[in-house]
Symmetry: C2
Subunit: 168 residues, 2 copies
């Protein structure tokens, strides 16, 4: 979900900039997670917001994600798998967010997990190389500022790329 379906980085930056009066952008994060781009004494603020009651619920949907996902469903059995166990406050928010923005995905096809090694699927589209490495099927790297230098996976830069790759 995060960084692939939902724009979590934009929300991190917006809350960070508001709190500290800065103007950090996605371009400033090239090759880094948000945490690595700010000074360590500001990590507590990022953590607090990440675990707040409304962080995940307000995330913007990535462009074209809804339309392409709906098209994918006509040819594939699509599951949404998200590493929600890292942030338990996200469970209900993520569930409601999916119901609001992707109502055509049945709850039976939603997975809140930790390690994605437990998933039995042909493909996993993920921004996190750690999860792609754990996954036993074919990993597809979804471009995000932090992973620009990662190699070894087929890469998609946006949902139009996903559409091209899976629907020709």
């Amino acid at each position: 979900m995060d960084e692939v379906m939902a724009d979590a980085v934009a929300e991190h930056l917006s809350r960070y900039n508001l709190e500290f009066g800065e103007a950090l952008t996605k371009a400033d994060l090239t090759g880094k997670w948000v945490w690595d781009a700010v000074s360590p004494d500001r990590h507590a603020m990022l953590e607090r917001e990440l675990r707040s009651a409304d962080f995940f619920e307000v995330l913007n949907v990535m462009p074209d994600a809804q339309r392409v996902m709906q098209r994918l469903q006509t040819n594939y059995e699509v599951y949404i798998a998200t590493a929600a166990m890292e942030v338990p406050t996200s469970f209900e928010q993520k569930y409601r967010w999916l119901g609001k923005h992707f109502p055509f995905i049945p709850p039976s096809h939603i997975v809140f997990c930790g390690d994605k090694s437990i998933l039995l699927a042909d493909y996993l589209i993920d921004d996190n190389p750690r999860q792609l490495k754990l996954f036993k099927g074919e990993g597809i790297l979804y471009s995000s500022p932090h992973n620009v230098d990662v190699t070894g996976y087929k890469r998609v830069k946006d949902w139009l790329d996903v559409e091209k790759l899976f629907l020709g």
Copy 2:
């Protein structure tokens, strides 16, 4: 989790009996889910309690589950997978319940899912024949009143049986 690690049926019966002044027992449920053993006009009460803020959090741990699970971890990579998507109010309760009663299971090995066909594992111990049928590895049926007549799976009647089967 439910009916395997956590005694959800006992909690259903206890709340049902309290509300209607009855004395329904597990023996009365032979071959039936709780829902099938009570009159349809009482289903709303069962649903209400199931979706309440404290149903899953107070469930008793099945006898020997903690000790055997801890022993299993020495020889197996153990994941907890639960069909939580059917009851979204259960997410945080289930997470806290596991942290309280099974603190030795890391969150990275917890899965809240719908269909268990998405799990990549060698074995699944489950009371629900629908999930065992969907699962692609070897399904082990954990005995519960509702599944007494189900055949086609290796059956364990309790955690001592699980211990014998997997640890000799």
